[in-house]
């Protein structure tokens, strides 16, 4: 499916009215303020221009007065436009490659539908797009678009995670060989593991940088680690399936022995293949700070 066939349908306006989250309410708030705030937030979330939205126009006179410069409809429309612009911009910062791939119109439609389905739940703009990859998956069968959304979210998701003290190769080497099988290793909090159907990291960069995008690569099961570099930026690295599943299991807290056994099974790797790779993995992973002390 091409991006032009991206499945998009506007929701019915009525369905865009946010579900009331009763648990968030402060029972002591003045009733008249609550009514005003609920209405205002609902108005500015709606997809239709206020001047053409009969439901909003019916509700406005109870709350909003014309000002010398602006009619009541003009006033609320200013906020409605700003709501979508602001959040679309924030999401585009996080999913710039996805936005470029879809093009302006489809991106904006996607954002509008996403925000209608999942209104921002809290103050944290960094997590605004947490649900977007799953939402994209419900909107299109295009595997590249779906993969791109997941890959971009991995970078956003890791951005503000805690820093942890890297485990040194020397510390790892000092572990009694007899105890290695039961050793529990911690993985850098800001490390994300992404399984893709396409090797898209270079395409992501090209799209984000707005340079001529490379051709879509051939489909190929791909394993990516997104992790913090030494300047505390984020970098990506393609890894083997065995490495990917080992890191996945370590992250879950499995002891090293069990993690390696399970990863070999997940990846279809032989014992010899695993043993041959182990030395290089742990040398690199400690050097790159992927493994950290449990402090």
């Amino acid at each position: 499916m091409s991006t032009n066939e991206f499945l998009h349908t506007f929701s019915d306006p009525a369905s865009r009215r946010a579900e009331t989250n009763a648990s968030a309410r402060d029972a002591n708030a003045p009733d008249e303020l609550r009514a005003l705030a609920d209405s205002f937030v609902n108005w500015i979330q709606r997809p239709t221009v206020v001047h053409d939205d009969d439901e909003v126009r019916r509700e406005l006179p109870a709350f909003v007065a014309d000002s010398p410069r602006m009619l009541a409809e003009d006033q609320i429309e200013a906020y409605r436009v700003q709501y979508l612009d602001r959040l679309s911009g924030a999401l585009e910062d996080d999913f710039r490659a996805l936005a470029r791939r879809l093009g302006s119109a489809q991106w904006r439609a996607l954002v509008a539908d996403f925000l209608a389905a999942q209104p921002p739940p809290d103050w944290n703009l960094y997590t605004l797009g947490a649900g977007l990859p799953a939402f994209v998956a419900t909107q299109t069968d295009d595997a590249v678009t779906r993969d791109l959304a997941r890959l971009e979210w991995a970078f956003c998701d890791a951005f503000g995670d805690a820093d942890a003290t890297p485990l040194t190769a020397a510390a790892l080497a000092a572990v009694d060989p007899e105890a290695l099988g039961d050793l529990v290793l911690a993985v850098q909090p800001a490390l994300r593991l992404v399984e893709l159907d396409f090797p898209l990291c270079e395409l992501r960069i090209a799209l984000r940088d707005d340079v001529e995008a490379p051709k879509i690569p051939e489909s190929k099961k791909t394993y990516v680690v997104v992790a913090r570099d030494h300047q505390r930026g984020l970098e990506y690295m393609y890894v083997t399936a065995a490495a990917y599943f080992t890191l996945t299991r370590l992250r879950r807290g499995e002891p090293l022995g069990a993690a390696l056994e399970g990863a070999a099974e997940d990846a279809g790797a032989t014992e010899d293949e695993m043993l041959g790779a182990l030395g290089t993995w742990f040398q690199n992973w400690t050097a790159w700070g992927w493994l950290v002390t449990g402090d």
Binding site: H51, P68, M70, D74, N124, L125, G160
Partner: protein, 349 residues
């Protein structure tokens, strides 16, 4: 005793909002270049609190480097002080951690609500100016101050909406809340002008209507004009220019000029995307004449130019602040001398 003296808040001088495009220019220069007058380009920086509430990574590493060389003040946009949802305890816990990390002499947020029924709109929505709402906001500010443990400043918002429930002008509303919550004010002069133009009141009444002793910090920024969808443009199609208005052209906000401008068909929007308008500089001088030389910040958040351009705005603010302070001291001294009273310049601040 003034709020500033009571809480021992310092005058930090002239700052700018720390924004990502200027990261390298600021962090790679341990000391920023002086301006033509030989003064430091920037004395301090303000950061958006919510950008630094994570647990680690580049944001906090950047913040630590910045705060090594400069005072840094956290300015929030999402406390939802006027909201009807409960205050977010996780947000407050993270904000406390940030304020402590910076050892900030104060923190600030806006007089507005940002969420309702669990939906966060990430915008600063104006409140109806009523007694009951003033009490509600003041209670929430007190709760926030208890949680954070530092002096708090409340900022007046830009506004494009007129509530039927409004029972008093915004400056009275702001003042009542500040008094009841015993907080300071972050006085945004551009927001005053934008609101005055959109709602048709005299911005000088706003400035003259607040308690100058509560003003701890001032914001200055640029605004833009946006077309109004529902109301046709005036017949001539003239595009208003607030910065070249009759008001601004008279040079000083105290000379009786008209209060705001703008032809029908446009409203003012607080975009922070342009230089500070001449008319806002005039209002700033008027404010400083009342408050004395308080900490001042230049905000520039969209279409952000190279750092020297923003630093030049800061330099302009420094000169304006100095001139307005000297002017007010001179005026006050004359008045007091004529009344045979004795007052030190410091008491005028």
């Amino acid at each position: 005793m003034s709020f500033r003296k009571q809480h021992g808040v310092p005058d930090l001088g002239i700052g700018i909002g720390f924004r990502a495009p200027h990261r390298a220019a600021i962090l790679e220069s341990p000391e920023l270049p002086e301006n033509a007058a030989g003064l430091a380009a920037v004395d301090w920086f303000e950061v958006i609190s919510e950008n630094y509430l994570g647990d680690g990574g580049r944001p906090l590493a950047t913040l630590d480097r910045l705060s090594t060389n400069y005072p840094v003040i956290p300015h929030g946009v999402s406390l939802n002080l006027g909201g009807t949802d409960r205050l977010n305890t996780d947000h407050l816990r993270r904000l406390r951690r940030l304020v402590d990390r910076l050892d900030a002499p104060w923190f600030s947020d806006h007089l507005c609500f940002t969420a309702a029924h669990g939906v966060e709109v990430h915008d600063l929505l104006p409140l109806p100016c009523t007694e009951k709402v003033a009490d509600w906001v003041a209670d929430r500010i007190r709760a926030v101050c208890d949680a954070i443990g530092r002096p708090f400043l409340l900022e007046n918002p830009s506004s494009y909406v007129s509530w039927r429930a409004d029972a008093m002008p915004e400056w009275e509303f702001l003042s009542r809340i500040a008094e009841r919550a015993d907080c300071g004010l972050l006085f945004d002069v551009n927001n005053v002008f934008v609101a005055a133009t959109n709602h048709g009141f005299d911005p000088r009444r706003y400035i003259d209507g607040i308690d100058p002793e509560r003003v701890v910090q001032i914001h200055l920024a640029g605004h833009s004009e946006r077309p109004i969808r529902g109301r046709p443009k005036d017949a001539a199609g003239a595009r208003p220019s607030a910065s070249t208005s009759e008001f601004a052209g008279r040079g000083d906000a105290g000379d009786g000029g008209p209060t705001s401008t703008g032809a029908p068909g446009f409203f003012l929007f607080d975009t922070h995307s342009r230089p500070v308008a001449d008319v806002v500089w005039s209002l700033y001088r008027r404010t400083i004449a009342r408050t004395g030389p308080v900490t001042t910040l230049i905000e520039w958040d969209e279409e952000i130019p190279a750092f020297p351009v923003v630093a030049a705005e800061a330099a302009t603010a420094r000169v304006a602040r100095q001139e307005a302070t000297l002017s007010s001291v001179g005026t006050a001294t004359k008045e007091h001398l004529s009344a045979n009273s004795v007052q030190t310049p410091g008491e005028l601040v």
